[in-house]
C-alpha cells in the first residue's frame, strides 16, 4: 500500500463568509468560494478537469456544482459522508490526481442550513421510524460529557468549567477571523450560565447553525510550483467508518471514538508522524460541541487519555500555546455548514502554513491537520498538510 504523501498539492483555496447568509443561495455561496479559489490559484473554469462536490442535504448530484459554475461537461461527483463530507470531496479529488488521471481538479463543499425555519439540525434521525425517533446532535454528544465526567471523576462544576474554557478559546480565535460566523468573545461565566440545550451542554457548548461554502484547487505535487510559490502538500489522509451505531455498540465507553484513533493512525502513518503533539504545528478539529474537542485532544494523541483537562487548564491549545487548536474559531465560532466544514478547516491550515493568517498567525507553522467527525457519530476523517515536500 502506497502513501499519498507529497503526491498532490493544494494551489488555491476559497471560503465564503460563514453565517446566516439569508440573502445568498447555495449557488451564490459556491460561486464566491470557488472564484476566490480560482483567483488564488490563477486558474479559470476551463482549467478544471474534474470536480468533487460535498453536501449532506443542500443539493443533489454533481450538477449542483456544474450549474452555478457552468463547468463544461466535465466529470463531477457529489459525495456525502456525514460531517466528513467536505473532507470526502478533498480526499476523492486528491486520489484522482494522485493516480495520474487528472492534473487540475476542484473540490467544493457547501451547506445551506438556514432555509429550514428552525435552529439546529432538527430532531429525529436514522432510517427507521422509531429507533432514533428523538435523537439530536446535542443529546448524543452530551452522552460523552456525562460519561467522561463520570469516568474521570469530574464533578458537574469541574466538567462544565473544563469544556467552557474550550468555548472561550474558540470564540476568541473566531473574533480574529473576518469570515467566522460569530466574531465575538465570550466569558467563562457566560458559557457556564448559558441555557441548557442538552444537559450538561449549554448554548455556548454547541456550534451554530450556519450557511457556507469552501473550495480547493488540487494539482500534482510536481506541477504545484507552476501555480504558486507556496503550495501546500497533502501528507496523509485517513478515514474511518464505524461499523455500528455507537448508541447500540456493546462495550463502548463513551469517552472517545476508535474511529478518530483509526483515522489518525492512518494519516500519521502516511505522513510519517510519530509524536503528533510535538510534530504538529496546529490542528483544526471537529468541535461541534466543546466536549467533542476535549475528547479529540485525547483521540488524536495530543493529550494522554483522561488527562485533557490538564492541558486545557494549562492553555496548551490556545493561539499562544504549545499546540494551537482551532485557530480560526472552529465549528464553535466559525460555524458548521456541514458539507463545507472539512474544506473550511483545511482553508485555515492552508493559510497558516503559508503564513497568511493575519492576527491569528502562529509561529513556525510547518505541519497542520484538519479533522472531521460525522454522523451519530460514525465517521472520522483526518488530513495532514505540510508546506514543504519531504
Amino acid at each position: 500500500m502506497e502513501s499519498i504523501k507529497d503526491k498532490v498539492a493544494i494551489v488555491g483555496m476559497g471560503c465564503r463568509k460563514f453565517g446566516e447568509n439569508w440573502e445568498q443561495s447555495s449557488d451564490d455561496m459556491i460561486i464566491e468560494a470557488v472564484y476566490e479559489a480560482y483567483e488564488d490559484a490563477g486558474v479559470g473554469p476551463n482549467d478544471i478537469q474534474a470536480a468533487w462536490v460535498g453536501t449532506i442535504a443542500s443539493g443533489a448530484a454533481g450538477v449542483c456544482l456544474a450549474e452555478p459554475l457552468k463547468l463544461p461537461r466535465i466529470p463531477i461527483t457529489r459525495v456525502e459522508n456525514f460531517c466528513a463530507t467536505g473532507h470526502e470531496a478533498l480526499r476523492n479529488a486528491a486520489f484522482a490526481v494522485a493516480c495520474g488521471m487528472y492534473d487540475v481538479v476542484l473540490a467544493c463543499g457547501f451547506e445551506k442550513l438556514k432555509d429550514t425555519g428552525v435552529g439546529g439540525l432538527g430532531v429525529g434521525r436514522g432510517l427507521h421510524p422509531v429507533l432514533e425517533g428523538r435523537r439530536t446532535g446535542p443529546g448524543t454528544f452530551a452522552f460523552i460529557a456525562t460519561r467522561y465526567f463520570y469516568t474521570y471523576g469530574l464533578s458537574r462544576e469541574e466538567g462544565k468549567r473544563t469544556i467552557a474554557q474550550i468555548a472561550v478559546k474558540n470564540h476568541h480565535n473566531g473574533s480574529l477571523h473576518p469570515k467566522a460566523h460569530f466574531q465575538r468573545e465570550v466569558t467563562l461565566e457566560q458559557v457556564m450560565n448559558a441555557p441548557i440545550i442538552a444537559w450538561p451542554l449549554g448554548l455556548f457548548d454547541c456550534c451554530g447553525t450556519t450557511d457556507g461554502a469552501a473550495a480547493a484547487i488540487i494539482t500534482r505535487a510536481d506541477l504545484a510550483k507552476k501555480f504558486r510559490d507556496d503550495p501546500i502538500y497533502l501528507k496523509g489522509i485517513g478515514l474511518a467508518a464505524n461499523q455500528i451505531l455507537p448508541h447500540f455498540e456493546p462495550g463502548f465507553d463513551w469517552t472517545g471514538f476508535e474511529m478518530n484513533r483509526s483515522a489518525a493512525r492512518q494519516a500519521y502513518e502516511q505522513a510519517g508522524i510519530k509524536d503528533p503533539r510535538k510534530e504538529m504545528s496546529l490542528a483544526i478539529v471537529h468541535d461541534c460541541f466543546t466536549i467533542t474537542e476535549l475528547i479529540i485532544y485525547e483521540d488524536l494523541g495530543f493529550s494522554p487519555k483522561g488527562r485533557a483537562k490538564e492541558d486545557v487548564d494549562a492553555g496548551t491549545f490556545t493561539l499562544e500555546g504549545e499546540l494551537p487548536i482551532n485557530t480560526d474559531g472552529g465549528l464553535k465560532s466559525f460555524g458548521h455548514p456541514i458539507g463545507a466544514s472539512g474544506i473550511r478547516m483545511t482553508y485555515e491550515v492552508y493559510k497558516q502554513l503559508q503564513g497568511k493568517a493575519g492576527p491569528r498567525q502562529i509561529k513556525d507553522a510547518r505541519l497542520g491537520l484538519s479533522h472531521t467527525l460525522g454522523g451519530p457519530p460514525q465517521v472520522a476523517c483526518i488530513a495532514v498538510f505540510g508546506n514543504s515536500p519531504g
Partner: protein
C-alpha cells in the same frame, strides 16, 4: 376446571390530587387523587404493562390467546390484541380478540376466555383490560375517572381461583356513552343511571349467583363489586348485606379513580393479593347489564405473590404538580409545533422489524456470545454471518450507562427528553428515552427496566416502541 391462574395490574406513575381541579376551576375538589397516564401511554400500552405483570416468569410461546378489553381503544379499526400479543412474544397460532365499547368489556372478555378454555384446546388465555376515559373539562367525571389496567390469566391448571359459577345479564339503557365522534364521556342523569342501571343489574347478578349457590353474605370472604362512585357503591353493598369494614373490596376511587372496563378486574387483583386459600369471593362488574362470578381461592395463590399488582403500583408514584400537566399528559392541549422534528412512518418497515420493535428481540451470536440490539446478521464482535439466536430483552434488568437531559429533543412535548443508553446484564446496549422519571434524580448506573410506549403518529398510525424507566417499586421507608 377453568379458572384464574395469575393476576397483574398497572397504575400509571403519575397522580393528580383532585384539589388541583378545584384550583383550576374553582369550587371544591373531590377527595383523594386520580391516576393519570403519561402522554406516551394509552390503553394498549397500559394493557401491555398489566399483562406483563400477570405473566411474569412465563414464556409467551406457551400462551394460547389474548383478549384485550377497553372502551378507549387507540384504534377504531385495527385489532390491538395482536399488537399486545406480539409485545408479549406470543406465537402466531393463538386466538386474539378486542372487547370494546362497554364498561363491562373486561368481564365479558374474562367470561369468553373461561368459555374458550372450557371448550378447549386453549389452555392459557390472557385477559387484559385498560381504560383512560376522559371526562369533560370542568366536570365531575374529569376528577372521578382514573387511568389503569388489570390482567388475569385464565387456564385449566395451577388455578389460583376456581370459577365456581358465572352469570350475566344484558340490559339496554343509554346511561354512559360516547358516539364515534366524541372525545368526552356523556352521561344521563345519575339518579336514574344508579337506580335503573347500576344497582338493579348488579343486584340481580349478585343475588342470582348467591341464591343458586345457597350462599348468604356471611359465607363470602370478599365482595368485589364495581362501583361508579363511593356513595352508590356503599349503598348497594349495604343492601346486599356485606360488612363495609371486613367484606367490601375498595373501588380505588380515592387513590386511582374509576378505571372503566379495567376497574372491576383491578379490584379483583387487589382482592386476590390479600386472599387466603379457601376464601370465596363474589365478583361483579357493570355496564349495559352485569356479569357476576363466584370464585374460590386455592393453595396455588401463594405462587403468584410476586406480582406488582395493585399494591406496588399504588405505592410507586409521583404527583403531577398542576392541572396544566394533566392536560399535557392526556394530550388535551396542543403544545407548540414540534419544530424540526423529522422522521418517517412506514407500516412495512414496522412490520419487517416487529421482532425487535414489538417483541424486543436482540441477536445473540452463537460463536462469540455477543448480544446486540437491534439484531445484527453479521456479528459486531466476530463477523460471523447469520449465526445467531434471538433473545428477548423486554423483561431484562439494565442500568444507565450514560444520559442527557435534552431540551432540544423535547420540541412539542414535555421537556426534557431523558436520552438514555441502557446497558443490560448480558452486555447489550439499548438507546432510548427514559420515561416516568424525575430528571433531577437521573444518574449513571441507576437501575432501569423497559416499558412499551407510544412514540409518535407518523404516517397517521400509532408508532409504539420501548422506553426505559426506573423500576416500579414500593419506595423504601423515608423515601419520597
Amino acid at each position: 376446571m377453568a379458572g384464574i391462574k395469575s393476576y397483574g395490574a398497572y397504575i400509571p406513575y403519575h397522580r393528580l390530587s383532585r384539589s388541583e381541579f378545584a384550583k383550576a376551576w374553582g369550587g371544591i375538589g373531590l377527595p383523594g387523587e386520580r391516576a393519570v397516564a403519561s402522554a406516551d401511554e394509552d390503553s394498549l400500552t397500559m394493557a401491555v404493562e398489566a399483562a406483563f405483570d400477570c405473566t411474569k416468569g412465563m414464556d409467551g410461546a406457551k400462551l394460547d390467546g389474548l383478549f384485550f378489553a377497553t372502551t378507549t381503544s387507540p384504534y377504531k379499526e385495527k385489532q390491538c390484541s395482536t399488537i399486545i400479543a406480539s409485545v408479549l412474544d406470543m406465537d402466531k397460532e393463538i386466538r386474539t380478540g378486542d372487547f370494546t365499547t362497554s364498561l363491562r368489556s373486561g368481564t365479558t372478555a374474562l367470561r369468553a376466555a373461561l368459555d374458550a378454555v372450557r371448550a378447549g384446546p386453549a389452555k392459557n388465555i390472557v385477559v387484559t383490560a385498560a381504560d383512560c376515559r376522559i371526562g369533560f373539562p370542568y366536570s365531575t367525571q374529569e376528577q372521578s375517572y382514573g387511568d389503569g389496567a388489570a390482567s388475569l390469566l385464565v387456564g385449566d391448571s395451577d388455578i389460583i381461583a376456581e370459577v365456581e359459577d358465572c352469570y350475566s345479564v344484558s340490559d339496554e339503557l343509554t346511561d354512559v356513552w360516547r358516539r364515534d365522534s366524541d372525545q368526552f364521556v356523556r352521561e344521563w342523569e345519575d339518579r336514574w343511571v344508579i337506580m335503573h342501571g347500576y344497582s338493579k343489574n348488579v343486584s340481580q347478578a349478585v343475588s342470582t349467583i348467591m341464591k343458586r349457590n345457597n350462599l348468604s353474605a356471611k359465607d363470602l370472604a370478599k365482595a368485589v363489586i364495581y362501583g361508579p362512585d363511593p356513595r352508590s357503591h356503599g349503598g348497594l353493598m349495604r343492601r346486599l348485606g356485606f360488612d363495609p369494614q371486613t367484606q367490601v373490596q375498595d373501588t380505588f376511587f380515592n387513590a386511582v379513580g374509576n378505571t372503566g372496563s379495567a376497574s372491576a378486574l383491578m379490584m379483583l387483583v387487589a382482592a386476590l393479593e390479600e386472599a387466603k386459600p379457601g376464601d370465596r369471593l363474589i365478583f361483579s362488574s357493570y355496564g349495559d347489564g352485569a356479569d357476576a362470578f363466584l370464585l374460590r381461592v386455592t393453595e396455588q395463590i401463594e405462587k403468584v405473590r410476586d406480582r406488582r399488582g395493585a399494591k406496588t403500583h399504588l405505592a410507586s408514584k409521583a404527583m403531577l404538580p398542576s392541572y396544566g400537566k394533566y392536560l399535557v399528559a392526556r394530550n388535551l392541549v396542543e403544545l407548540p409545533p414540534a419544530a424540526g422534528l423529522r422522521g418517517m412512518g412506514s407500516a412495512t418497515v414496522m412490520w419487517r422489524t416487529k421482532n425487535w420493535v414489538l417483541s424486543c428481540h436482540a441477536s445473540k451470536c452463537r460463536k462469540c456470545g455477543l448480544v446486540t440490539y437491534p439484531p445484527q446478521r453479521v456479528c459486531y464482535g466476530c463477523q460471523s454471518k447469520d449465526e445467531f439466536d434471538e433473545v428477548n430483552l423486554s423483561r431484562e434488568q439494565g442500568k444507565l450507562f450514560t444520559y442527557s437531559l435534552d431540551n432540544l429533543a423535547a420540541t412539542g412535548i414535555n421537556p426534557p427528553v431523558i436520552q438514555s443508553v441502557v446497558e443490560f446484564e448480558g452486555g447489550a446496549r439499548f438507546y432510548c428515552m427514559m420515561t416516568d422519571a424525575d430528571p433531577q434524580a437521573v444518574e449513571v448506573n441507576m437501575p432501569l427496566e423497559m416499558t412499551f410506549r407510544k412514540i409518535h403518529e407518523f404516517a397517521n398510525f400509532h408508532n409504539y416502541f420501548w422506553k426505559c424507566r426506573p423500576p416500579r417499586e414500593i419506595p423504601a421507608e423515608g423515601g419520597k
